[in-house]
C-alpha cells in the first residue's frame, strides 16, 4: 500500500527536502529580519498546506487515513508517556517509519500533524509552523529513502542520527533571526551551541527507538497488509480453533 511515486514526483520531493532549507538559510543571511520572518512563515506554511492538499485525495481511502492517524497518535502519545525523560522520545522515529511504510507524503503528514497536535499539550506557539515543516521533512526524506532504509539497519541508524540535528539546524536558523535580529555565522553558532545537548540527546534517542521499533513495526505492517488484503476486521484472521 506504499504509494508508488513517479520519477517526476521523486525529483520534486528531493528538491523540497534539499532546496527549501537551503533557501531559508540564504534568505536568512540576505534578507533583513522584517522581510525574512514573513517569507519564512510563508514558505513553511505553503509547504505544509501543499502536502495536506496532496494528501486530501488519498485520505478518501479509509485504511490509509487510519494508518496515518494511528502513526500520528503513536508519536503524540509517545511524546506524552515519555515526557519524564527530556529528549528521549519516539517522535522522529515514528515519522521515519511512517515515511518508510506509508510513503513520503504520509510521512510528511505524520511529522507535521504530530507537531500540530502535540503542541495542544506541550504549548502551541509561533514555532508550531516551523516544527510542522521540519518534522514533516524528516518523514518525507524517510519516504524517499524507503527502499534503502527498509533493507539496511545501518542506514536506518544513520538516518535517525542525522534526523535530530537536521531538525535542530533548520529550527535554529529561524530562532537565530528571531532572537538576535540578524543572521550571521556568529549568532547562528551561539544558538546551535545552546541547543547542542538536546541535539545530541535527540540523535541518540532516535537511534535507540529506531532499532527497537524496527522489528515490531515491520511485523505489524506485515500483518496489516494481510488484513488489508482481506479488507475486513480482526475476526477473520483469527485461527478457527474452538474456544
Amino acid at each position: 500500500m506504499v504509494a508508488g511515486m513517479s520519477l517526476k514526483r521523486i525529483f520534486a520531493y528531493i528538491a523540497i527536502v534539499l532546496l527549501i532549507p537551503a533557501i531559508i538559510v540564504v534568505f536568512a543571511a540576505v534578507l533583513p529580519k522584517s522581510l525574512f520572518m514573513p517569507v519564512a512563515v510563508l514558505i513553511a506554511l505553503t509547504a505544509v498546506l501543499a502536502f495536506m492538499l496532496g494528501f486530501e485525495k488519498e485520505a478518501d481511502n479509509a485504511s490509509k487515513a487510519v494508518l496515518v492517524a494511528v502513526f500520528t497518535a503513536l508519536s503524540v502519545a509517545g511524546r506524552v508517556v515519555f515526557a519524564a525523560t527530556p529528549g528521549f522520545k519516539p517522535v522522529f522515529s515514528i515519522a521515519i517509519f511512517a515515511g518508510i511504510y506509508l510513503g513520503g507524503e504520509a510521512g510528511f503528514l505524520v511529522g507535521a500533524l504530530t507537531a500540530l497536535i502535540s503542541n495542544f499539550v506541550f504549548g502551541q506557539g509561533a514555532w508550531t509552523i516551523f516544527q510542522m515543516f521540519s518534522w514533516g521533512l524528516i518523514g518525507l526524506a524517510a519516504g524517499l529513502l524507503a527502499p534503502l532504509l527498509r533493507k539496511s539497519k545501518v542506514a536506518l541508524c544513520i538516518a535517525g542520527a542525522l534526523a535530530g540535528p537536521l531538525f535542530s539546524l533548520i529550527i535554529d536558523v529561524w530562532s537565530t533571526v528571531w532572537i538576535y535580529g540578524t543572521f550571521s555565522l556568529k549568532t547562528y553558532l551561539a544558538t546551535t551551541l545552546a541547543s547542542l545537548p538536546f541535539t545530541i540527546l535527540h540523535a541518540i534517542s532516535n537511534v535507540v527507538f529506531l532499532l527497537l521499533l524496527a522489528e515490531p513495526m515491520r511485523k505489524a505492517m506485515a500483518r496489516v497488509t494481510v488484513k488489508y488484503a482481506l479488507m475486513t476486521s480482526g475476526e477473520s484472521l483469527k485461527r478457527r480453533s474452538k474456544i
Binding site: 511485523k219 500483518r223 494481510v226 488484503a229 482481506l230 479488507m231 475486513t232 476486521s233 480482526g234 475476526e235 477473520s236 484472521l237 483469527k238 485461527r239 478457527r240 480453533s241 474452538k242 474456544i243
Partner: protein, 457 residues
C-alpha cells in the same frame, strides 16, 4: 410485496482461506422483523453480517445473492446501501471513529456530504431520542463502555437505515448496560420499523426479545426453537449467599481483610467503608456487586496498588492480579517469548524457565501451538488462560481477576470454570470480581456482595 431482506443460497470463503465459512445460507426477513442470530464463536455469524452489505463485505469468494426490497445489493448504488444498512461492531473501542460524541454522530452525514443545517437537526434529534444530550459535547475517551456502545448505535442510525445489523453488541457490557442497550434497539425496531439482526451467543437470556431465533452452525443456517428461561442470570442474591452456607472454614485464611476504608478524594465519600472478609486457602471467591460499587477499588487495595486509609489487608503468600484486558499482560509477540523475558527478569536460568513454563502450560492446557501464536491471534479464552499462566509463573498462589468473563462465550467460560476449580484443588486461592452471576454460581465456592462499601456474605 418483496421481503425487506432476502439472502439466497449465500456461500462465502475468505480470500486467504480455502474453507467455506458460509454454506448455502437462506434467510428471509420481513420489514420490521427482529431476528437473533446465534452460534458459537467462529461459526460464521459475524461473517454473515458483514457479507450482507458490499460496503462491509470482506474480500473472498462469494456466490448466491442478497436482495433488499427485491433489488440485488450489488446493483444498488453504494450510497443507497450505506444509508439502508447500518452496522454496529462488537467492541465499542473499535466501533467508534472520531474523538467527540458530536463528531461521531455527525460522521455518517459528513461522509455523504449532507447539508450542515440538516446534520445539526439530525444530531439534535438522535441525541434526544437516545438520551445522550448530556454527553453530546464530551470526548469519547471520557465515556463508559455502555455509553460508548450507545453512541456507536446512535452514530450508525444517523442515515435512517432500514436494516440494522449488530455483531454481539453486548459482549463487553455489564448486564445493566446490556439491557439498556437492547431496549434502545427494541425502541428503534418498534418506533421506526427497522429490521434488526443481532448476532449473539447468549441465546437464553435474550431470546424473549426477538420474533425469531436462527442458529448458524459450521456455516449452515438452522431454525431454532428456544424456550425463554428467566433464570439464566439470576438477579436474586439468595443463591449467591447460599454458596457460603456449604463452605467450611479450614485453617488460616490466605487473604484476610479487616475494616478496609478507602476514598479517592480527601473529603470524598468512602468507596470502601469497613469491608471485612476472610478467604481460606484453596477456595474460589466471587465478589459481586453493581456498577461503581467499588469492586475494582477493592481489588486494587488487595494488590497494594492503592493504599487504604484505614484497616489492613493480610495476604499470607504471593499474590498477583490480572487487569480487565488480559492482552495487556503481554509485552512480547507470543506467550512463550513473553514468559521467557519475564522469567529472565525474575532471575531464572533458561533451563529452569523452560521447566516452569512447561509445568504451568500443562496445568492451564496451553498447547505448544498456543504458546507460539501471536497474542493478537489468540481467542478470548486462550488469551485469558495464557495471561493466567503469567500469574502462576510469577509464583503467585493467590490470583486476583477483574471481570474474567468479559468478552468470553459460554464454551470459553465453561473451560475457565474447569481450570479455576482444578487450580483451587492444588491449593491456589482465586478471587474474582464479576457482574456475571451465572459464572460466579457455577465456579465459586464462596461469594460476597459489595454494597455501600462493605462486603455482605
Amino acid at each position: 410485496m418483496a421481503k425487506k431482506l432476502q439472502i439466497k443460497d449465500l456461500n462465502f470463503k475468505y480470500a486467504l482461506g480455502d474453507r467455506y465459512v458460509l454454506r448455502g445460507i437462506d434467510l428471509e426477513l420481513d420489514a420490521g422483523e427482529k431476528v437473533l442470530l446465534s452460534g458459537i464463536s467462529g461459526s460464521g455469524k459475524s461473517t454473515l453480517l458483514k457479507v450482507i452489505s458490499p460496503m462491509t463485505s470482506p474480500r473472498g469468494g462469494r456466490s448466491g445473492s442478497v436482495l433488499i426490497d427485491g433489488t440485488d445489493v450489488r446493483d444498488m448504488p453504494r450510497l443507497d446501501i450505506t444509508s439502508k444498512v447500518a452496522y454496529v461492531a462488537q467492541n465499542p473501542e473499535n466501533g467508534i471513529v472520531v474523538d467527540t460524541v458530536y463528531g461521531e454522530l455527525a460522521f455518517c452525514c459528513e461522509n455523504i456530504g449532507m447539508n450542515r443545517e440538516e446534520v445539526r437537526r439530525r444530531v439534535a434529534w438522535t441525541a434526544s431520542y437516545f438520551g445522550i444530550e448530556d454527553i453530546l459535547k464530551r470526548k469519547i475517551s471520557e465515556l463508559s463502555g455502555g455509553q460508548k456502545q450507545i453512541v456507536s448505535l446512535a452514530a450508525a442510525i444517523m442515515l435512517k437505515p432500514e436494516i440494522l445489523l449488530l455483531d454481539e453488541p453486548t459482549t463487553y457490557l455489564d448486564p445493566i448496560q446490556a439491557v439498556r442497550f437492547l431496549d434502545l434497539v427494541d425502541n428503534l425496531n418498534r418506533d421506526f420499523g427497522m429490521t434488526v439482526i443481532v448476532a449473539e451467543h447468549r441465546v437464553e437470556s435474550f431470546a424473549g426479545r426477538f420474533d425469531r431465533v436462527v442458529k448458524i452452525e459450521e456455516g449452515v443456517l438452522l431454525d431454532m426453537d428456544v424456550r425463554t428461561s428467566f433464570n439464566e442470570t439470576d438477579m436474586f442474591y439468595e443463591r449467591v449467599f447460599a454458596l457460603n452456607d456449604g463452605a467450611v472454614n479450614t485453617g488460616d485464611p490466605a487473604v484476610s481483610v479487616k475494616n478496609l476504608e478507602f476514598r479517592y478524594a480527601k473529603d470524598g465519600p468512602n468507596v470502601l467503608d469497613g469491608a471485612n472478609v476472610d478467604i481460606p486457602k484453596g477456595s474460589i471467591y466471587a465478589l459481586l456487586g453493581a456498577n461503581g460499587c467499588g469492586k475494582t477499588t477493592f481489588l486494587r487495595c488487595l494488590t497494594c496498588e492503592l493504599k487504604p486509609q484505614r484497616g489492613n489487608v493480610k495476604i499470607r503468600s504471593q499474590c498477583a492480579a490480572m487487569t480487565q484486558n488480559p492482552l495487556s499482560m503481554f509485552i512480547e509477540e507470543t506467550p512463550e517469548k513473553d514468559y521467557r523475558f519475564f522469567l529472565k527478569q525474575k532471575g531464572f536460568k533458561k533451563e529452569e524457565a523452560d521447566a516452569r513454563i512447561s509445568e504451568v502450560a500443562e496445568k492451564l492446557e496451553l498447547t505448544e501451538d498456543i504458546l507460539k501464536t501471536n497474542v493478537l491471534d489468540l481467542s478470548g479464552g486462550e488469551t485469558e488462560r495464557a495471561a493466567m499462566a503469567k500469574l502462576l509463573l510469577a509464583g503467585a498462589d493467590v490470583l486476583l481477576f477483574d471481570e474474567p468473563t468479559k468478552g468470553l462465550d459460554s464454551a470459553a467460560k465453561a473451560k475457565l470454570t474447569g481450570i479455576m476449580k482444578e487450580l483451587a484443588e492444588r491449593g491456589i486461592t482465586i478471587i474474582f470480581v464479576t457482574h456475571d452471576v451465572g459464572f460466579a454460581l457455577s465456579t465459586a465456592d464462596r461469594a460476597g456482595v459489595l454494597s455501600a462499601g462493605s462486603i455482605l456474605e
